[in-house]
């Protein structure tokens, strides 16, 4: 099993005709993802390496039956692209683009939530999602993932996700699904959305959660772990030594008003019963230990 996406998920790429969209869209297809369409109003009727291009998401969905989309549109166009996908009835929208204004994020997140409560937005500014061996949407390097479970991964950071997945695969520990939720101020899919689904997924036996400074998503996740989760969680939080008031690369990674420190997040996760590691290269070993005790 898996969460959110699997081998049957059909995906439309908004921005497939651009260089990033084409590069990653074709890589995703090579991995086995059902990349069924691209969109570009000016290039409708054309194709990208055999993938048909439609004028709109609505049309692409009608012709292909896709339920997911992946957005590689430049930041100024992301708000329009997300709303177009949601209005067309797409249920899972992955936004890879970074640099989206936070007012846009706040606006389209709430508009989609109001009008389409069952639609999920993953990102913006995220690496995407992979169910190893079945479906890879976004920019996660598929070759480092190992199919078959039993570990689910959810992370705010791209490279740290890769690091963690790599550590697991090297030890022969597979993954059910790995979700990069992104480091922006208003992420759609949250840590909790993923933890909830991993808890309900039969094949997932344990979960890795990677957080970073800023906001309170990790504290909220800790509360969820304490009250709702029976499966073990290994957690890592980046940014213990980040100075307050400085944006550490991700727009969301900032300690402000003394809130959102890594220390506070790690303490909350530890108190919730998670195994907290102090550096990302310990994640694999810690998970191996956790799995032995199941």
């Amino acid at each position: 099993m898996s969460i959110f996406v699997n081998k049957d998920t059909k995906v439309i790429y908004q921005g497939l005709t651009g260089s990033q969209g084409r590069f990653h869209g074709l890589r995703n297809r090579d991995y086995g993802t059902q990349v069924v369409a691209g969109t570009n109003p000016k290039k409708a009727g054309e194709s990208v390496d055999g993938i048909p291009i439609f004028a709109s998401v609505e049309q692409a969905k009608k012709e292909t039956g896709a339920t997911a989309s992946c957005i590689f549109i430049p930041a100024p166009g992301v708000k329009g692209a997300v709303l177009e996908a949601a209005n067309a009835g797409i249920e899972f929208i992955v936004v890879i683009t970074e640099g989206v204004p936070s007012h846009d994020e706040a606006q389209f997140y709430n508009e989609v939530k109001t009008n389409f409560p069952d639609t999920f937005i993953l990102g913006p500014n995220c690496p995407g999602i992979i169910t190893p061996g079945e479906c890879n949407i976004g920019i996660i390097p598929g070759q480092i993932a190992l199919p078959g479970g039993p570990v689910g991964v959810v992370s705010r950071s791209g490279t740290l996700t890769y690091q963690a997945v790599h550590e697991l695969s090297q030890r022969g520990i597979g993954q059910t699904t790995c979700v990069g939720i992104g480091g922006d101020p208003v992420p759609g899919v949250s840590h909790i959305d993923c933890l909830e689904r991993f808890e309900a997924d039969d094949e997932t036996k344990a979960v890795i959660m990677i957080g970073e400074i800023g906001g309170s998503a990790e504290e909220d996740a800790a509360e969820f772990i304490a009250n709702k989760m029976t499966k073990p969680v290994v957690a890592y939080v980046a940014g213990v030594t980040a100075p307050a008031g400085k944006k550490m690369g991700h727009a969301g990674a900032i300690i402000s008003g003394g809130k959102g420190t890594a220390q506070g997040k790690m303490e909350a996760l530890q108190a919730a019963g998670a195994t907290v590691v102090l550096n990302p290269t310990e994640i694999g070993e810690a998970m191996a230990g956790v799995l032995e005790n199941i």
Partner: protein
């Protein structure tokens, strides 16, 4: 991007939020001329991007030309917490009956905009929040709907301001919300928002932080660039398009991905080193970008060792290794560089570094080993 007070006030004025008449100047004579033109008494205020200006002697009242000259002279060039005053804001002094606090910002947990209003203004809102949280009236605004007048009135009533301030406050807050949303602000704050003895409400200070991601739709922001305070290293990095933050240690840090770089800082601290910077080269870093990154870090006089930490995903370790070889042939390294490569094409990457030996380039196999080695070499 943080705005200076006068820039924030000029932005407020565009939205018809009442602010005092004033002028920004950069020399003493212009300050005196501005004071004469505005009419006494005037307040002369240092324009710096740090709090605590008043206590540091950066805000002074002048009742005549001599005082204006004296204060302008003493404040220009003043060092306030490491920020040297280069710009003064001269404005007509206001009589204050009461001081309030008002702001809009994004509440990331709620994923909605948060408005805060308090009858206890003039002090840091964090202090009020800690000592007397009930004194802050909060409102959560759905960005899809916006702030309605009814909501705003109820919010102002909840803050229990002087009844005389009610209408003026509602008017200003509705306008401030427009500044916040249309202006793509991360923060729009007025502290203090004042009530004058005559019953007028107006903004006595302005604190505005802009979301740089929205620069593409604000051509007028270009004028703020010149007053941004960056240190020399940050300036050089910005020119080269690098995501760099200066810190004050001696280990230069370069990595790919914000999370990985943050955790690199952590691990260096864990083995008792102090990072000199945060530098994220991002995904798909090529040889040129790496050379630029190494050049920026290498130019920092405090740096005694460099730690290059790459996890290859889309980025391939052999490309990175070629970048290191190219960079070290172009830039003369002042300090040793410890390279940790892992992930895609790691074996090819390490082979390239072995085939091009350089006494200043050290290859380590794990993050922890690399951090230890960098700290050892920095001593």
């Amino acid at each position: 991007m943080d705005l200076l007070e006068y820039q924030g006030k000029q932005l407020f004025a565009k939205y018809a939020i009442p602010v005092s008449d004033g002028k920004a100047v950069t020399d003493v004579q212009s300050a005196v001329d501005a004071a004469n033109e505005i009419g006494y008494p005037v307040v002369i205020k240092a324009q710096v991007l740090v709090g605590g200006r008043g206590k540091a002697g950066g805000v002074k009242l002048a009742t005549n030309e001599d005082e204006a000259r004296e204060h302008a002279t003493s404040i220009l060039g003043l060092d306030i917490k490491g920020h040297v005053v280069e710009i003064l804001w001269v404005e007509h002094a206001s009589d204050i009956a009461e001081e309030y606090y008002a702001s809009f910002t994004l509440d990331r947990a709620a994923k909605k905009h948060l408005g805060m209003l308090s009858a206890q203004g003039g002090v840091e809102i964090e202090v009020v929040a800690e000592e007397n949280p009930d004194a802050i009236s909060k409102i959560w605004i759905d960005p899809y709907i916006g702030l309605t007048k009814e909501q705003c009135v109820a919010w102002v009533d909840g803050a229990q301001l002087n009844p005389k301030a009610r209408d003026g406050a509602v008017d200003i807050l509705l306008k401030l919300y427009d500044v916040y949303v249309q202006g793509d602000c991360d923060l729009a704050e007025i502290n203090p928002l004042i009530l004058t003895p005559e019953g007028n409400v107006h903004a006595l200070d302005a604190k505005v932080t802009l979301d740089e991601n929205a620069q593409f739709r604000h051509e007028d922001w270009a004028e703020y660039e010149s007053t941004q305070i960056l240190d020399a290293r940050e300036l050089m990095a910005k020119e080269k398009g690098l995501n760099y933050i200066g810190l004050d240690g001696e280990i230069g840090i370069i990595g790919n991905g914000a999370g990985l770089v943050m955790s690199t800082l952590d691990i260096v601290n864990q083995v008792e080193g102090r990072p000199a910077n945060f530098l994220d080269v991002g995904g798909g870093a090529d040889a040129d970008l790496l050379a630029n990154a190494i050049e920026v870090v290498n130019s920092d006089e405090n740096v005694k060792a460099i730690f290059l930490n790459i996890f290859g995903g889309i980025t391939k370790c052999d490309d990175v290794a070629n970048g290191v070889v190219q960079a070290t042939s172009k830039v003369e390294l002042k300090s040793p560089i410890v390279v940790r490569l892992d992930g895609t094409n790691v074996d090819q990457g390490r082979a390239i570094l072995e085939a091009n030996p350089n006494p200043k380039v050290v290859v380590a196999s794990t993050m922890l080993d690399a951090a230890r080695e960098a700290v050892r070499l920095s001593k």
